[in-house]
């Protein structure tokens, strides 16, 4: 509901503008009221079903990786399991802890799920009419709104009045904020090439350049993936809800449908981050050979399918990581964010900038002159020579440099010097024990 409202708010300014200028006819209502509403309803319906089935998919994928079968009993192959789960969660008692802050407790999951759903408005699901709102600052909008989601978690943790929830909320806020920085940095490289924040614009730019930006920005893509894992609280960064430590983290005290809302938010934001990655790095709905389809409707439908397929590949990747690797510890997670992701993101920006400036046309002060003016005055790499130049710089030069930079920054960490770290820990231990334990032991004797 709220998601729909906010989406409407997005369309509203333009709507009001038109309202004042143009004569109002049937076409107006059709274009600005009926059609958006239909789109919103369709998207919400599809996405929510999809989210339910993502849970099913996750269970199946994890089962297959673990020599199990997963849900099998509800419907053939357990295909109706999401429906059964949803029904169960709806019918469950909604428990609110006695000492919880009631209002906040009730609002928190809504904030979290709305922040995740609103973002869906600007995602280009496919070509032409399948792009619902082509906002010219789409990407910025997504980053801004999705970071509101963390508010939901913090409030939930605080309002539950439980220590586990509080610890989970603290962890998640610290984690999401630090990974958002890395995420923002990783995007910039691709944006240098796209030169627009509009989501459809980014896809068009990739079509015009004839190459997906993952080939120009391999490091950016990797950083984005890792940060997206952190941002969506997925393993190996699922600390806020680390089951073995904090029971269920910020939603320990939630039950029934409120809990389901958090769950929905998590999977929706997984969907959203994958969709952004697809748009930004994997060419969105475009695919080589797609232009051959002449029928307009078919074209759009195929584009939607392509988009969905790409998103699914990324989501499978998420699930794959989750069910293979152990979980990081909180401080190590922060290490990874601040000592690996953020320096890598910064270095990537610098290096990409250098390659970009060097490749500018000679008239604009470049050296190699491997770019030309293209669509809408946008500088595009020249066909083949420019593209090869950027791919080569991206893969062959940027990756090793960044890798070495990171290795230099982190040369003292476990990843490179396990032995020394081990000895250090052993030495530190004596100190720690003295600091913490001894006064306590004395106190024990006294009591």
């Amino acid at each position: 509901m709220l998601g729909t409202l906010t989406t409407l708010m997005l369309v509203a300014p333009e709507w009001v503008l038109r309202w004042t200028k143009e004569p109002r006819g049937n076409a107006f209502w059709a274009e600005f009221v009926v059609w958006p509403l239909i789109q919103i309803l369709i998207v919400l319906f599809i996405v929510l079903t999809l989210v339910a089935y993502l849970v099913y998919l996750e269970r199946k994928v994890s089962a297959f990786m673990q020599a199990r079968l997963g849900p099998m009993r509800v419907g053939p192959w357990g295909l109706l399991q999401p429906a059964a789960d949803g029904l169960k969660l709806l019918l469950k008692e909604d428990i609110i802890p006695l000492k919880a802050d009631k209002t906040v407790f009730q609002i928190a999951p809504i904030i979290s799920v709305v922040a995740a759903l609103v973002v869906l408005a600007v995602i280009p699901w496919g070509a032409a009419w399948a792009t619902i709102a082509n906002v010219n600052i789409g990407l910025l909008f997504i980053l801004a709104v999705s970071s509101v989601g963390v508010l939901g978690l913090v409030l939930a943790g605080w309002a539950s009045n439980s220590k586990y929830s509080l610890l989970g909320a603290l962890r998640s806020s610290a984690q999401m904020i630090s990974y958002e920085i890395g995420m923002g940095l990783s995007i910039i490289g691709a944006l240098m090439f796209a030169r627009t924040l509009s989501m459809s614009g980014i896809i068009e730019a990739q079509q015009a350049d004839g190459v997906w930006y993952v080939f120009f920005q391999p490091i950016g893509f990797i950083i984005y993936l890792v940060c997206a894992l952190g941002e969506t609280n997925r393993a190996p960064f699922d600390l806020p809800e680390a089951e073995s430590e904090l029971v269920a983290g910020y939603h320990t005290e939630y039950s029934g449908f409120r809990w389901a809302l958090f769950f929905m938010a998590e999977y929706t934001s997984m969907l959203v981050t994958s969709a952004i990655a697809v748009t930004l790095f994997l060419g969105g709905w475009s695919f080589p050979g797609l232009g051959l389809i002449k029928n307009q409707t078919l074209f759009v439908v195929v584009s939607i399918v392509i988009f969905a397929a790409k998103v699914m590949v990324l989501i499978y990747l998420y699930m794959w990581f989750r069910w293979t690797w152990p979980r990081y510890r909180y401080d190590q997670l922060m290490d990874l964010g601040w000592k690996w992701m953020i320096p890598a993101g910064l270095a990537n920006i610098v290096l990409t900038g250098i390659w970009y400036v060097l490749a500018l046309p000679k008239s604009r002060g470049g050296v190699f002159g491997l770019m030309q003016l293209g669509l809408r005055d946008r500088l595009a790499p020249t066909r083949w020579s420019g593209i090869i130049y950027f791919v080569v710089t991206g893969f062959v030069i940027t990756i090793p440099i960044i890798w070495l930079v990171l290795a230099a920054i982190n040369r003292r960490t476990r990843d490179f010097n396990l032995h020394a770290q081990r000895q250090l820990q052993i030495k530190l231990r004596a100190k720690r024990l003295q600091k913490h334990a001894e006064p306590q032991a004395a106190g024990e004797g006294a009591s």
Partner: protein
């Protein structure tokens, strides 16, 4: 205010950042009903204490009212993931008290079963330890292999978990015809499976950063805390009852005792994995040299040991499990005392975890490998 030795006085203005948090008895990773009271500074553990007894059944007292044969099933329920090893301890104790010579075939089968049980117990430990650290998949793989062992047990003994495997004087059943083949088949696939676990964990950087240097226990401290089993050997002390106080037919087998170097969680993990490999070697030897003959010694129908007392300890998967029996010449023991390895090893938790983070406490509870059935008895 104190609870279980942890000062839980609410913080004053200056140390208000301390938080007392109660982990368990119903917590996903305390391996049963252990209650841990943590005093945290941020996420750093400042103090910790364990509250046990939620699973107390008074086995030692019950034993005073039961005949010697009737006590054996209770031993299954101490360390219920290694029931066969427990049975060996008790049955061996009573046999020592009675002075019974157990047939060699029975001894060989006993060794094979207990070593299988050691593998099963270590696999369960591996799975739960990995899931504590977040590697869920290892659990399912480990349980698959454990299930194979339990199937062998079911066919041999008649039960999977609480086996009641041995009787005083030998075994109730002889090995079933395909026993040897089944075990050999299993041992053939097991090394490959261990490699699979190690692919997922051994060099994985996340696993390393979660285990290396965590919960270091120097050898002298480990001895002072009277730890036994892999926890002790992880610290580099070469002490294994199978060699130090040989029992059953272990002296006839050729195997090695893996020990660690640094005494951290990672070493304890490596030690246990190496122990699984050693157990495979022992079982193969036991099957190769399996003698023919009866599996039950001549035992009087009513067991009435002479007056006296006896201590018998064996190397269970978790450490030295021992039984101290006092007989007053009647059919019931005058006193039975259990030396529980997990209970004693658990005492090291405080020293291990002070100064580490909450997440490490979970890993450390896992690395000690406790089973609350035995801790609480």
């Amino acid at each position: 205010m104190r609870e279980q030795g942890v000062d839980i006085t609410p913080g004053t203005l200056f140390d208000a950042e301390e938080m007392v948090i109660n982990m368990g008895p119903q917590h996903p990773s305390t391996h049963g009903v252990l209650r841990v009271i943590l005093k945290l500074d941020g996420e750093t553990v400042k103090d910790l204490d364990c509250d046990i007894g939620y699973l107390h059944r008074g086995v030692e007292k019950i034993a005073e009212h039961d005949t010697y044969a009737m006590i054996t099933p209770y031993w299954d329920r101490l360390d219920y993931v290694a029931a066969v090893s427990n049975d060996l301890c008790y049955v061996g104790g009573v046999e020592k008290l009675l002075g019974i010579e157990v047939p060699r075939r029975a001894e060989y089968l006993r060794v094979a079963l207990t070593e299988l049980q050691r593998i099963a117990s270590h696999l369960l430990w591996l799975g739960t330890h990995a899931i504590d650290i977040g590697a869920v998949t290892v659990l399912l793989y480990a349980f698959r292999e454990r299930e194979e062992i339990l199937k062998i047990f079911e066919d041999f003994i008649g039960a999977r978990l609480t086996a009641h495997a041995f009787r005083i004087g030998g075994l109730w059943w002889d090995a079933y015809p395909e026993f040897e083949k089944r075990v050999r088949d299993f041992l053939k696939i097991l090394p490959g499976r261990i490699d699979e676990y190690e692919t997922l964990l051994n060099a994985n950087r996340i696993w390393l950063s979660r285990t290396v240097g965590i919960g270091v226990l120097p050898a002298d401290e480990a001895i002072n805390l009277s730890l036994t089993g892999p926890v002790l050997r992880g610290s580099g002390v070469k002490y294994d009852l199978r060699r130090a106080q040989p029992y059953s037919v272990y002296p006839e087998f050729d195997f090695e005792i893996p020990i660690g170097e640094n005494g951290d969680t990672y070493d304890r993990y490596l030690v246990r994995m190496a122990e699984i490999r050693q157990s495979i070697i022992i079982i193969e030897q036991a099957l190769d040299g399996l003698p023919e003959g009866p599996v039950m010694a001549k035992v009087p129908k009513v067991i009435k040991p002479p007056v006296g007392e006896v201590y018998f300890g064996i190397e269970a998967p978790k450490g030295e499990i021992g039984v101290y029996l006092v007989s007053d010449g009647t059919t019931k023991p005058y006193r039975m005392r259990i030396r529980p390895p997990a209970f004693i090893n658990l005492q090291s938790l405080r020293r291990l975890s002070i100064g580490h983070l909450v997440a490490d406490v979970v890993a450390l509870i896992g690395t000690i490998d406790i089973v609350l059935g035995e801790v609480d008895r």
